[in-house]
């Protein structure tokens, strides 16, 4: 990835950005830019900013630059960076907070990796909200219908094979006390309304 220069005396900086996205802001500020996270990250090769670069952008408050990157969308929650970071920073949880913030701001476009990942998780949670458990076939069909109907055709062979093996059921398995599930979704939303992501 080509290096990019920022003139930090001129850029619009959001000094509270680290606080907004990092579960442990003080720790994030202690990042020594050693690059262990990047070296450990299986998807760093495809990111427009490496994890190390992203933490620096967060530190200085280049909010928009961070949010428009694909970096956090390519994070697979593998926690390799988190266990190796010599500063003990909650890196994976920070990546998740960035996803939440971007979704809350409506940044995702359906044709991009951002849009697809966001839609994937949203379709997943819609299914859980409805049934209390994930209904795999319903979730995948909704996801592909929204992002890439051709992708659904591409998954057709796999779907067919899984069906043939009796591994995809068309009827959902459901939680009996769905009121509990509704209450959990409602309360989480109420408690977070207006709060940090």
């Amino acid at each position: 990835m080509a290096e990019k220069a920022f003139n930090l005396t001129r850029e619009m900086l959001d000094h509270s950005f680290a606080e907004t996205v990092a579960p442990d802001r003080e720790k994030l500020l202690t990042c020594i830019q050693c690059g262990t996270c990047t070296a450990s990250c299986p998807t760093a090769y495809a990111m427009d900013y490496t994890p190390r670069q992203l933490w620096r952008l967060i530190q200085v408050g280049l909010r928009e630059e961070v949010l428009k990157s694909n970096t956090y969308w390519l994070c697979t929650n593998c926690y390799s960076c988190t266990i190796r970071c010599p500063r003990g920073i909650s890196l994976t949880e920070t990546m998740a907070a960035l996803k939440r913030l971007a979704i809350a701001q409506g940044l995702e476009k359906p044709s991009t990796i951002q849009g697809r990942v966001a839609r994937f998780y949203r379709s997943f949670m819609d299914s859980v909200r409805r049934h209390g458990r994930l209904h795999e076939s319903e979730f995948l069909i909704t996801y592909f219908a929204h992002t890439n109907p051709l992708g659904l055709a591409g998954q057709g062979r796999l779907g067919f094979n899984l069906c043939r093996k009796g591994k995809i059921s068309l009827a959902p398995s459901e939680v009996k006390k769905r009121g509990d599930i509704a209450a959990i979704f409602r309360k989480a939303q109420e408690l977070e309304a207006g709060g940090a992501p």
Binding site: Y79, F120, V128, D180, A188
Partner: protein
């Protein structure tokens, strides 16, 4: 020994052979998995992206119900294990959370202390029951069979509860105790790509190729997580295209592997539900049995 069991959504469908073989193997080991009635989805990696509190409340309902059942709770899926375990950790770190959780659970007539011990089935079998007891129960030995032991991420990270976060050994020891050879496998905790296989296939296929390439000499890969199993098994045609050699590697759950050594019938193993045939392992096991019974 009795354990409270959280199967998780994948084990109802794409990973049903994991559920069936886990129950059967535990029964053979004089242990019992008692399913949490009316359990709900743990939120996987999805809930946290939608809402931080949701990612804790969903698994917490399961913990509350499990706590009422008295025994430690065991998960088979690595992501379920992590999500249940994470609730306890976050409750410990964030005192404000306990009050919020109490309010939510009260609506469901439940409560949770934050203290129920959460286990992964690999930990239970390797450490509570023990490698020796497993080997003792085996009827077949996998002599000459080479296995790539693949752990994936979330069973050992970020919480290295029972084994090392980079090069764990619990499953290696189980496999070796059953007479098979584990190949040196430095990628044993490399990421399988998780959801990227669906959302950005080119990256997913690359990550799986990185994992399967060093397993070339192996007869099979043995794993502990439903998403790892699916990613490693279902895209081998694409991976073969990338690696330039025919990839036909059976990807088994560790419970199926143990069950094979125990001589369990197909109904308890469901090897036939795999997309890549694992039949050669059944034969490898039975040949040994014949040799021994002579």
């Amino acid at each position: 020994m009795k354990y409270t069991y959280f199967p998780g959504c994948s084990l109802l469908n794409t990973a049903k052979e994991y559920d069936v073989s886990a129950r059967a193997v535990m029964r053979e080991l004089d242990s019992e998995l008692v399913e949490i009635p009316d359990w709900n989805c743990c939120g996987a990696t999805a809930a946290d992206v939608v809402s931080y509190l949701l990612s804790l409340f969903l698994p917490a309902r399961n913990l509350a119900m499990a706590e009422g059942m008295g025994q430690e709770v065991v998960a088979t899926c690595s992501s379920c294990f992590l999500n249940l375990y994470r609730v306890n950790k976050h409750l410990e770190q964030n005192p404000e959370l306990k009050g919020q959780l109490d309010i939510v659970l009260a609506e469901a007539g439940l409560s949770y202390s934050g203290n129920l011990r959460v286990r992964h089935l690999l930990d239970v079998i390797a450490n509570d029951i023990g490698v020796k007891a497993v080997a003792k129960r085996a009827k077949r030995r996998f002599a000459g069979i080479k296995v790539a032991p693949y752990y994936g991420c979330q069973v050992v990270r970020p919480y290295a509860e029972f084994d090392g976060p980079d090069l764990p050994m619990s499953m290696d020891r189980l496999i070796a105790a059953l007479g098979a050879e584990t190949i040196p496998y430095p990628v044993k905790t490399r990421c399988c790509g998780g959801v990227l296989m669906t959302t950005q296939k080119s990256i997913g296929v690359k990550l799986v190729a990185d994992i399967l390439e060093p397993a070339r000499e192996a007869d099979c890969v043995v794993t502990v997580c439903p998403l790892c199993q699916l990613n490693l098994e279902a895209y081998q045609r694409e991976v073969a295209g990338k690696l330039g050699w025919p990839v036909r590697l059976p990807i088994l759950y560790f419970t199926q592997f143990i069950g094979l050594a125990f001589g369990l019938p197909e109904k308890d193993l469901q090897l036939s539900s795999h997309l890549v045939s694992a039949e050669k392992l059944r034969i490898a096991g039975s040949r040994e049995q014949v040799a021994e019974s002579r």
